[in-house]
Homo-oligomer: 337 residues x 2
DNA sequence: CCACGTCATGCAAGCGGTTACATCTGCCCC
DNA sequence: GGGGCAGATGTAACCGCTTGCATGACGTGG
């Protein structure tokens, strides 16, 4: 310990106020249990000394850190930052602080970060998606850290809050097919490392099957989660001999990238090709034409996630929560030409 | 302390491995000081027990938390999330974890969050902008917590890393004026609570003065930092009898909102009005036409901020860092009609 | 063969709080 | 007057980890 020698401690305060450390501690944590006169004397000492409690000591003695952790793929994607913002706001109202880390969509980094946040005293963890290997699962359950999965909903024992990505994408697919499209493509994040992407692919295939189309005819174009990557994926699709008439995208970011690329290729949307997004971020409203997409209640999800995690930390049981999505028809979907 | 009785502690590990707690601690923190054979036995015990160190105890004994805090107005705005992402990545490489909070652009919340993060053991703080009242300044200096201001650069004693918002906006203004515009408007965040916005206004006035225009003729339209708010501000400007020929915006988000509104009002950009942004976010490339804006090196800033803060925490002196911005001419700026 | 250095490990004293329990005081009532 | 009780405060035992110092084993050179 090489702490600053002039940082005052509880016992410094106690000495100045002429009381015991117990009394000082009570003044700070349960003022009503101390005589007003004594309390004033103590608070005066606190003030003159500029005392503030030592975090480590308090955490050790009290057995809790009032801190929760969240690990998201990246803060750069608005799909996460919206929800995390709400999550943090709600946490704050419960007196909890947020420890945050990002995994860059890499499972090994996620694992490292899980360990790091737990080691930093996170009392509960918010994670994205269900995909996770057994060693880290074991670690988590051995440590008894409550984990809430967000941005995804799945029937099962693991507590989660999110959307039924599969059903939502099936809805979107149904809508596209209802417009007469038969040759569909999907620009998606890599389903190997992103289980939300995986179930969205499945959802789209469900819709095709439902409509009597061959799910195997779906062209899946996996790519990174960036604007430019979406654009490049679109170009690859467009260069195919069996060019699709509708390009669905796993996220708005990919769709926006596709749209920009279409524009620069001189392809008219939705006249020559339909494009759809997923998430209904701000950017869905600023593209031209504005993006037909699936609205996800990010804000609500973030808040609910915080509430659920608070209950889980308190040891109360929680039920997973599935939030509704809503198709938002804007300008990028039409019938095939 | 009401900790879970089956969470293993150092001495549990020590017992299982048949060594002292000191040896276990060394295995974890200075492996080279322990015989390989012993070390393996200990690590084996760590694994089977699922041991992870108790944060409070470690922080108390070691006198540090390896945690830094950042308080940003909101994570929803990509202008912050980009930089924070990079900040966190760099922090991780130094073995530090990020505690994050948001102020919603409200000084009193920022103050509360500063206290909260310091109480949670933040060893250093990243804050946005210089505006801050004295009580909280005193608190910070009394506690000796290093503070780095980011997203803004200003000559002065306070360490900071960012852009010269004033000069950058002056550049943008110069460019607009050079195209022949004389009636300028600026859609800006509220300069009362946002010092970056304030100096950007000043920068624009500098450019006007430089060009022989009356800086008082600048129409400033203050508003919230959202897409819709930008749109409404644009409409208010457009309804004025002395309609501006160029509408500069304090951020890309506002500019995108203005652009969308212009489109819905049937106003052609840049033929009837020029619009410029500030920040060069992804969304600047997806508007139609794409946005002329000021590129800010968010990523670089986030990384540098982390490096500087690490040095500050180590007690080393740091120099403020001014990063260069670059005008990006795209499609929303032209001469007046 | 012994003095001495090196290296691995153990012992135990903190680190700065919280809190169960003990103590003390003053008061009420029988 | 003494038993009992309530309320304010003090005492000290933790909480789980790090680390300076002590210990003991072993090897080396004189």
């Amino acid at each position: 310990m090489r702490r600053d020698p002039d940082t005052p401690t509880l016992s410094d305060v106690a000495e100045v106020a002429g009381v015991s450390t117990a009394t000082v501690s009570r003044c700070l944590n349960a003022p009503e249990r101390v005589l007003e006169q004594t309390r004033n004397r103590v608070l005066e000492a606190v003030r003159t000394l500029g005392y503030a409690p030592n975090f480590g000591a308090r955490a050790l003695a009290e057995g809790r850190t009032r801190t929760v952790g969240a690990i998201i793929p990246t803060m750069e994607n608005a799909i996460f930052s919206r929800g995390i913002q709400a999550f943090q706001e709600e946490l704050r109202e419960h007196g909890l602080t947020l420890l945050i880390a990002s995994s860059s969509y890499r499972p090994e980094i996620e694992e490292e970060q899980i360990r790091a946040l737990v080691a930093r005293g996170a009392e509960g963890l918010l994670l994205i998606g269900f995909q996770r290997n057994d060693t880290i699962r074991d670690f988590l359950s051995a440590r008894g850290v409550p984990v809430l999965v967000a941005w995804a909903w799945q029937d099962g024992p693991a507590p989660c809050v999110g959307f039924d990505n599969r059903a939502a994408m099936a809805d979107m697919g149904g809508e596209v097919i209802a417009r007469g499209h038969r040759r569909l493509a999907l620009i998606s994040a890599d389903p190997q490392v992103n289980d939300r992407a995986l179930v969205r692919i499945e959802g789209l295939r469900d819709a095709m099957r439902e409509a009597g189309l061959d799910p195997a005819s779906l062209i899946v174009e996996p790519t990174d989660a960036s604007l430019d990557a979406g654009g490049l994926a679109f170009r690859r699709l467009w260069e195919r001999p069996d060019r699709p008439t509708a390009v669905l995208c796993g996220t708005d970011v990919l769709a926006a990238g596709a749209l920009v690329m279409a524009r620069s290729l001189g392809v008219k949307v939705p006249d020559q090709v339909s494009i759809t997004g997923f998430a209904d971020l701000d950017l869905a409203r600023i593209t031209e034409p504005p993006l037909t997409t699936m609205h996800l209640p990010h804000h609500r999800m973030g808040r609910e996630a915080a509430r659920m995690l608070v209950r889980m930390i308190a040891g109360e049981p929680v039920d997973s929560l599935r939030l509704d999505c809503a198709l938002v028809l804007r300008g990028t979907l039409a019938g095939p030409c």
